[in-house]
């Protein structure tokens, strides 16, 4: 039996910083996706929402909040929370329900409103909470991205300019994307003159947080055929695996890795495990990939993803960006949407937004960002506490 489901429609609310209620962005994106799918809201049988932790109770039950805002119509409902992978987790729930025959058509939706200023942990003296502890010791989010970036420089000879090339590429891609928040083409000079945040990463190489919303209408292949959309783009894999003990890399918010001292225990890279499972599920290999959308929380992290997705051997990602292989028009474009560099992270919407971009590219509807001959696309992201995801779309 085919494990594919059809993507009938996708839609986004542009990313920005307005501070409006998150459900407004979610409803807007959902209506766009419904319009794109050409089906009425009443036909949706399952609403799969991605939760936001920053908008109070309505955010914890985002699926229901957005279903109510669209008008209660008796659909089954679910809300997923999995940090940065929440959107993929919501897609995985819809896919499972469709493949189990429990529903034919589902709405997957995520939206967020981000507070102003620093994301700081709750107050009190709470050293048992690793997220509290690391801030007390002076270790913030950019610390982790900078450690990974610096390791690339010392081990592989990557340079600040290489990371700058990633930022320039993404800023050029996002420039014409109507859903991107930052539309400015940066020069190497501007990037390398922006303030150092955590050496070697500068302000223009670290992503911001944004408001935004993204949605998809997905269905069984049977349903897609019935409504004349047998040729819809398909979801071929959704990987949401956990890490495998022991962690090889010190991950946010931890102060230490697992120990790999016990007999039979090896250190494993979590990032690399995510696409591996997706390739397995889809029966597709890295050699089949036409484009990728990856989580560029920093410009340097995008290079780690090239290697984790097996688009090049370990240590050779900078060479790909130097050659222009991952630019629009290159042999393997990455972050054609502009990536987090141009969007800023809207946590529960971001993994869905990655899939929206792949859908437009595979359909040939990406406008000025369109790449030639897109047949297979892959997404990858990683968040806190052992959550991450990788989704494969195919024609």
């Amino acid at each position: 039996m085919s494990q594919d489901i059809a993507v009938l429609g996708v839609g986004m609310h542009p990313w920005g910083k307005w501070g409006r209620n998150f459900s407004e962005y979610g409803v807007y994106a959902a209506r766009e996706a419904l319009k794109d799918a050409g089906i009425p809201w009443q036909d949706v049988q399952f609403v799969s929402g991605a939760a936001t932790m920053r908008c109070g109770y309505p955010g914890y039950v985002a699926g229901a909040t957005i279903a109510q805002a669209l008008g209660w119509q008796g659909a089954q409902v679910n809300t997923s929370y999995a940090a940065c992978a929440s959107g993929s987790q919501a897609l995985a729930a819809a896919r499972a329900k469709i493949l189990a025959g429990e529903c034919e058509v589902a709405l997957v939706v995520g939206a967020d409103t981000t507070p102003k200023g620093f994301l700081a942990p709750a107050k009190g003296f709470r050293p048992e909470d690793p997220d509290w502890l690391r801030f007390y010791l002076g270790i913030t989010n950019p610390t982790y991205f900078a450690l990974y970036a610096r390791r690339r420089m010392d081990l592989y000879g990557d340079t600040e300019e290489d990371f700058g090339l990633v930022k320039i590429k993404n800023s050029e891609n996002g420039f014409t994307n109507p859903n991107a928040r930052y539309k400015k083409k940066f020069t190497m000079e501007e990037i390398l003159n922006s303030a150092m945040v955590a050496d070697p990463l500068r302000l223009l190489q670290i992503c911001a947080t944004s408001d935004g919303g993204a949605a998809m209408i997905v269905s069984s292949m049977e349903y897609a055929k019935r409504i004349g959309k047998a040729n819809a783009v398909k979801v071929a894999a959704v990987s949401t695996v956990t890490p495998t003990f022991a962690s090889a890399v010190v991950e946010m918010p931890d102060i230490a890795t697992d120990s790999a001292a016990a007999a039979g225990v090896e250190a494993h890279s979590f990032r690399a495990a995510l696409p591996k499972k997706a390739y397995e599920q889809a029966g597709i290999g890295p050699e089949d990939v036409s484009l990728a959308e990856v989580y560029d929380l920093s410009s340097a992290l995008e290079l780690d993803w090239y290697e984790d997705l097996m688009l090049c051997p370990r240590g050779e990602a900078a060479q790909m960006v130097r050659e222009g292989a991952t630019k629009l028009g290159g042999r393997l474009p990455v972050n054609t949407s502009g990536g987090l560099a141009c969007f800023g992270e809207a946590v529960p919407a971001q993994a869905i937004a990655q899939v929206c971009e792949l859908t437009w590219q595979l359909r040939g509807q990406a406008g000025e960002r369109q790449i030639a001959n897109a047949k297979v696309g892959i997404t990858a992201n990683q968040g806190l506490f052992g959550h991450g995801s990788s989704v494969i779309l195919k024609k």
Binding site: Y136, G138, L147, V197, A198, D258, S259, A261, A262
Partner: protein, 149 residues
Amino acid sequence: MNNKPVQAAIEGWFTLDTDTPHLIGACCEKCGTYYFPKTLSFCKNPACDSTTFNEVELSRQGKIWSYTNACYKPPEPFVADEPFVPYAIAAVELEKEQMIILGQVVKGVDVDQMKVGKTATLVLETLHEDDDAIKVTWKWQPIAQGESA
């Protein structure tokens, strides 16, 4: 001269021995997995169901896995000097324990004095002061080639 008593910023996480401080971790009695901070409940090795651990002092020396610095003042609960003084951070890999531990780097050492693979030693240094005490924490001290610990 500052006569405030010296206290551990986080009690029980390291020995307050000024010359040769150690991080205090745990080691699973059954499989030998190390923990920092110390875990004394359930072993996290998926192949091990142990609930018994020994408290152990972790190695004081390791190799730098990576390093960076903090150019901006972190939010609370970090207690910053006024004016804020940037500091370096290192992730150090302990060979015996096969784990990487993060920490600030001693004052006065920045990223240009570090390199992946270079040796670093654990020392104690002030994290911040409050009205009653000087709160110290573990920090990493990179060691130049040929220098002794």
